[in-house]
Symmetry: C2
Subunit: 198 residues, 2 copies
Amino acid sequence: MMKLYDLELSGNCYKVRLFAALAGIQLDLVPVDFMAGKHKQAPVIDLNPWGELPVLEDGEVVLRDSQAILVYLARQYANDDWYPQDAAEQALVQQWLSTAANEIQNGPASARLVDKFGFELDKARTLVISDRILGLLESHLSQNQWLAAEQATIADCAVMPYVALAREGGISLDDYPEILKWIEQIKTLPGFIPMPGI
Amino acid sequence: MMKLYDLELSGNCYKVRLFAALAGIQLDLVPVDFMAGKHKQAPVIDLNPWGELPVLEDGEVVLRDSQAILVYLARQYANDDWYPQDAAEQALVQQWLSTAANEIQNGPASARLVDKFGFELDKARTLVISDRILGLLESHLSQNQWLAAEQATIADCAVMPYVALAREGGISLDDYPEILKWIEQIKTLPGFIPMPGI
């Protein structure tokens, strides 16, 4: 079975666990002791020289980056609704995969790294990035039920976790009713699984 | 013809111009006066509420985010070598699209924004991110001729520009011979076009 080198409290790992659950894909979770730095030691560092989690191992296929893992699982094991084949539809998903990798990671996810895990990052900067991206997301969701298609896609799975965890970085979602509605909507999808804080 | 709302000095816009040139895709370039803030005014802001360049307009299809535009152009107008259909191969490309969106943007691209355009960002932080990503890139290229496949893909087009422009952010590439070799190799591809600084 596929192995996911996993950290329960990581939103990036949860993206993968969530999508696998929604799409009915079986994963063998291999917990990695992040606080002890095991992700920067063998055998994990040999699989991913970047020293980050999650890492997916599916036979010969070894992947870092949660967005890339979502693309792989969707294309290999799920129906096309999750990651459409059409060029324009695929690009609409990609817009939000880039957003997840950049603005969401450097906004709400990094604010949480400071508050919850004591990372020495510029907290004020994470809040500036968060304000901007949450405003753009709220506006987008006021006109679209899902981020990138008529149905849930891997874009929703990539963006939602750290947005829903924003409170753990000291960021309130009270002023973002469309975002709150979208999070609740994801929670009603068949197969949904939670994580601590969501 | 497709319109690319473009800024000559933007590495993100150059990613798209470069790939289109390599793949023989015709673009109608629409220069946007960035210094005058035209990207934050109509009509560009109506096409992209994010207020960023580039923006691609192909009939009804309107896309922001340079990585998403690369995905669209490759899937719609280029052969599969540039963006493979196979799940694992596509995910290997995605790893580097995420890297382009995050580490490259917040490392060398942001260092250049400070030095060349006077943006008020934490320069020291951009250098820390750059050091890490350039080291990982150098190591990867010491074992791989291209980033994500046996041939050039949109991953190379997404990552190369701001790496090659690193000097404009005060970052020397002298200690990265594999990166320098890879940049030169891209320059020899049929159809290659330069930009100021590359």
